[in-house]
């Protein structure tokens, strides 16, 4: 069997990672998708574009984000040395802004007059509203009504930043439904509007483009861990809904001898059917412009996901993850609501860092495995966002389950 020389050269020119990815969109959108691809390909090698992006990431977002040795957590777990990549310290409080900054510059370059986006936990919505305020571009955010209820601080932030919020009532009123309505808006306003997708999913070139804009996370981590440890980490770990923070951390390590672990949300448990574990409990299918693993029934109807964490509450996953899962380059594990909430409390009390509920899934798995790893095992966890937005959800959960 032929071994791949590299895991980093995907996707092919039609946007495929193995059998995953592609461009499954209505014809109305096809010309625009091709236009976005052309513009992005130009931007990749455009030094002025890259310099402008770099400048904003440094001076506006606050990059590089620190790589922090979580000593108290490490001591408690008694095994691997755990580092946090502090994406929670970025402006707007999560990794999402890395991608938004890249795409808003692209939208400007393309002369687009209006931006739309979908959001689940609201972090992508806030980051989009932020860059739109910065560049004075009108912006409309689609958000499911369930998510509006459980992430109300982010709704207020978006409104304050000048975004129009469109509540989405279809389906379960979560991220999937918000994405459907954003796509409907885009089809109707294709000439003027740029769709700023927040994760490594959707039609080509979005999965590759969002990954590239997020890869700054992994690139910085490589340099920073060399400073701390003088070598690459033994493992990297991140939570995964659509998968952008995970892909951003993983991508620069794909060709190295680094163990890669992604943590899906198994909600109330995979056996209950109320979960969001597309890779662990889904099957290949086509939704939102790409072929990937989906939660679906035997008739190909999409099943609603469930997670206490709005940012992981999505029945699909980025196509590059589907491929990495398929070829066995990365491990995809899962963590329940309860385990995530427990980990959230541990991290908060031990490290004085309030993690996003999404990131708490990665912490929970770290807590599970770190003790059994050697003391010289170096592990980098992506602290993808901060948890201020989750206070209400967590209080409600603890009250329900006390």
């Amino acid at each position: 069997m032929n071994q791949l020389n590299t895991y980093m050269d995907g996707p092919d020119e039609d946007g495929h990672f193995g059998i995953f990815g592609g461009r499954y969109v209505a014809e109305t959108l096809m010309p625009l998708i091709l236009e976005v691809e052309r513009a992005y390909n130009e931007a990749k090698t455009d030094e002025a574009f890259q310099a402008e992006l770099k400048g904003y990431l440094k001076n506006y977002v606050g990059r590089p984000s620190p790589l922090y040795f979580a000593e108290r957590l490490t001591n408690k777990l008694g095994g691997a040395k755990v580092y946090f990549k502090r994406e929670d310290l970025n402006h707007t409080g999560a990794h999402k802004v890395n991608n938004c900054m890249g795409q808003i510059l692209l939208a400007r370059k393309m002369g687009k007059k209006r931006v739309i986006a979908e959001t689940g936990a609201g972090m992508h919505g806030v980051a989009t509203a932020t860059v739109c305020a910065l560049f004075d571009i009108p912006c409309t955010i689609y958000m499911g009504t369930t998510d509006i209820d459980r992430q109300s601080p982010n709704v207020s932030r978006m409104k304050m930043l000048g975004a129009e919020i469109v509540p989405v009532t279809s389906g379960t009123g979560t991220l999937k439904d918000a994405m459907n309505d954003a796509l409907r808006d885009w089809v109707a306003n294709v000439e003027t509007t740029y769709y700023l997708i927040g994760t490594v999913a959707g039609p080509h070139p979005y999965p590759a483009m969002v990954r590239d804009f997020q890869a700054v996370i992994g690139e910085e981590t490589r340099a920073q861990i060399m400073e701390h440890e003088g070598r690459l980490p033994d493992s990297v770990i991140a939570c995964i809904g659509g998968g952008s923070n995970a892909m951003g951390l993983f991508y620069p390590f794909l060709d190295d001898e680094v163990r890669i672990i992604a943590v899906e949300a198994s909600g109330e448990g995979i056996e209950t059917g109320k979960h969001a574990a597309s890779l662990n409990a889904g099957a290949p299918g086509v939704l939102h412009g790409n072929r990937t693993f989906l939660l679906q029934n035997e008739d190909g109807q999409i099943i609603d996901a469930h997670s206490v964490s709005a940012g992981l509450d999505y029945p699909g996953i980025g196509p590059e993850h589907a491929w990495l899962h398929d070829i066995g380059r990365a491990e995809y594990v899962s963590i329940t609501d309860k385990e995530a909430i427990d980990a959230f409390q541990v991290c908060t009390r031990l490290e004085g860092i309030i993690p996003a509920l999404e990131s708490a899934h990665a912490i929970a798995h770290t807590i599970k495995i770190a003790g059994s790893l050697a003391k010289d095992h170096v592990m980098v966890l992506n602290m993808s966002g901060r948890g201020d937005k989750d206070m209400d959800s967590i209080s409600a959960y603890l009250e329900r389950n006390s």
């Binding site: 209505a26 389906g171 409907r184 086509v286 679906q296």
Partner: protein, 276 residues
């Protein structure tokens, strides 16, 4: 007695007959199983008599991203009442027992087809009496269904839209068969309507690239609009207006009123009467 024409040949014969009659045809869309299989089958059976020249039978999908609220709701009603891909094919099979001349086009999204298995689905659909497919989220770039469809003698119908420019049109029409479906507005189904002048210009442009018949759809909901646009196209497609009639004829618990099928069929009659 001549052999029954099937697949692409049945579609071609229908367009040839329409041409001989000197009028545009009506392509009527309903969602299979909306609001329930029994009512939907009754509507399907009577569509040709009410004036439908071509039938677009929607395959319900949980996430119809290119459709507006009307078709989205109809899809959900059907799924809530037990619609499935197998039952959709059963509806076609039963319809074919009484009608061998009206083309049936299955319209929908790729995932249910993909999960069923493309080759198997095309074979089962051909056997049931389906003549063509419109799969909204399979642009020419994602061509995995086209070949099995062609090999079965059925038509894979492509959509052209106002955003499909001259540079792109050859890609779209290159492998098109049956007819071209011109989406007259940039938007989802059942929302805005295009100006006739814009449609005329667009059709002239399409005809420079393809000799296939053209069906114009999206935003046509009245007999007047149908008559007007029918002057320029080989067929016009109406969908949301019909599924709205279903929605208007439901009991509070979501079951069909006795008036449901007739309400849809009356509107089919009204719209087709303008196509002379």
């Amino acid at each position: 007695m001549s052999a029954e024409l099937i697949g692409s040949a049945r579609i071609a014969k229908r367009f040839a007959d329409l041409k001989a009659e000197g009028r545009a045809g009506l392509a009527a869309f309903i969602t299979a199983g909306d609001p329930d299989i029994k009512t939907s089958s009754a509507i399907l059976k009577q569509l040709p008599d009410a004036g439908a020249d071509i039938i677009e039978l929607g395959m319900p999908f949980s996430d119809p991203m290119a459709d507006g609220p009307a078709v989205q709701a109809s899809s959900q009603r059907a799924l809530d009442n037990g619609a499935s891909m197998i039952k959709t094919l059963d509806m076609v099979r039963i319809f074919r027992q009484g009608d061998s001349v009206t083309p049936i086009i299955l319209m929908g999204y790729f995932n249910p087809v993909y999960v069923y298995g493309v080759e198997k689905f095309v074979a089962d659909a051909a056997e049931a009496g389906v003549d063509g497919f419109i799969i909204v989220d399979l642009p020419p770039e994602e061509s995995e269904m086209r070949e099995p469809v062609e090999n079965a003698g059925l038509s894979f119908i492509y959509l052209a839209t106002p955003t499909t420019d001259d540079e792109r049109l050859p890609t779209v029409v290159e492998h098109a068969s049956g007819f071209i479906y011109y989406v007259s507005v940039t938007g989802v189904t059942g929302t805005s309507s295009a100006a006739t002048a814009d449609i005329e210009t667009a059709l002239a442009r399409l005809r420079r690239h393809s000799d296939l018949p053209i069906t114009v759809g999206f935003g046509i909901r009245t007999a007047e609009q149908a008559a007007e646009i029918g002057k320029h196209a080989e067929a016009i497609a109406v969908g949301s207006a019909f599924v709205n009639k279903v929605a208007e004829n439901l009991n509070e618990d979501g079951t069909a009123k006795d008036s449901c099928a007739d309400a849809v069929l009356d509107l089919v009659r009204e719209i087709s009467s303008g196509l002379t």
